[in-house]
Subunit: 148 residues, 2 copies
DNA sequence: TCCCTTGCGTTCGTTTTTCGAACTCAGCTA
DNA sequence: TAGCTGAGTTCGAAAAACGAACGCAAGGGA
């Protein structure tokens, strides 16, 4: 079972994990959520090799996480990479990573950017909750059952 | 800037993203949250090569996400891999992946396991909320500012 | 005691990925 | 026509992953 076969497992956790678990993919998504949209800018800010960048962008296009959108600059038509709705919906994944990073990987130093709720200025955090009673859940509060 | 240098970037999103963005690491964590604890069981259920499994387990031990715990079986002392508090706190990351997978990568088929809140039987989902007003947030509701 | 089994890795030669520098190409611009 | 720029593509070298075989310590049984 090669790594790639997880992409077709009947598990709604395995497939996203296999997709985002490829090298560079999470870092690429971070950059996109921070506003980067062009090939050259990804390449410059992340210092990823151009061939791997091409590959990762293509995978995300194929998965419909990103879309290519034409735009004009200096009278020329070019394309930029933007999140689809499916892509934007990955926000909780990135925020969960950051919430964890804030708690467990921030020794003294501060974060390189800050996030605030536009409406009230509050902070941002990811959490897991019950769809019925809205209680916040940890792994211990959740029962796992194999599907029938 | 090699991939590994993201592990020391002053960004609380980059570092977790680089750590969990290595191949197999997210899938390994999924398996751990599902209850797998021993080398042989990881190897058998994921079909990962033994050398890479050794490496990934060691990285997670070093990062203090996992710990080795001795246990007895057949009168012999062995060790198993278990989550630390830091590791357990990754639960929202995995649940965010799953919530996304349920919405965007579950065509007709069902998930391979189900999750329920032990207390009330409700479903489980990840979300992002404001630490002040508790509103649920999307990327559009959040303002990013570079640190001073 | 000697041999077998088990769990947990380690080694090593082969195949994939990644790297990085150079190259290509299309569409302006001078 | 020549040059520039953004967006890739190509290709040889280096790193990572693969997988089959090997190592090893701790029992158990003969």
């Amino acid at each position: 079972m090669p790594y790639s076969s997880f992409a077709s497992m009947p598990c709604t956790l395995s497939r996203p994990a296999a997709l985002l678990g490829e090298r560079w993919t999470l870092l690429l998504l971070r950059q996109i959520f921070l506003g980067t949209r062009r090939f050259e800018d990804f390449q410059a800010t992340m210092d990823i090799s151009r061939s791997v960048l091409t590959d990762r962008l293509n995978v995300l296009l194929q998965e419909n996480v990103l879309k290519r959108v034409p735009y004009h600059e200096d009278g020329r038509t070019r394309h930029e990479y933007r999140l689809t709705e499916k892509g934007r919906d990955l926000y909780p994944v990135l925020m969960a990573l950051r919430t964890w990073g804030e708690r467990w990987m921030a020794p003294e130093e501060e974060e390189s950017f800050q996030l605030h709720h536009r409406d009230c200025g509050g902070g941002v955090r990811a959490k897991v909750e019950c769809t019925e009673c809205a209680a916040e859940l940890t792994a211990r509060d959740v029962q796992v059952t194999a599907r029938a």
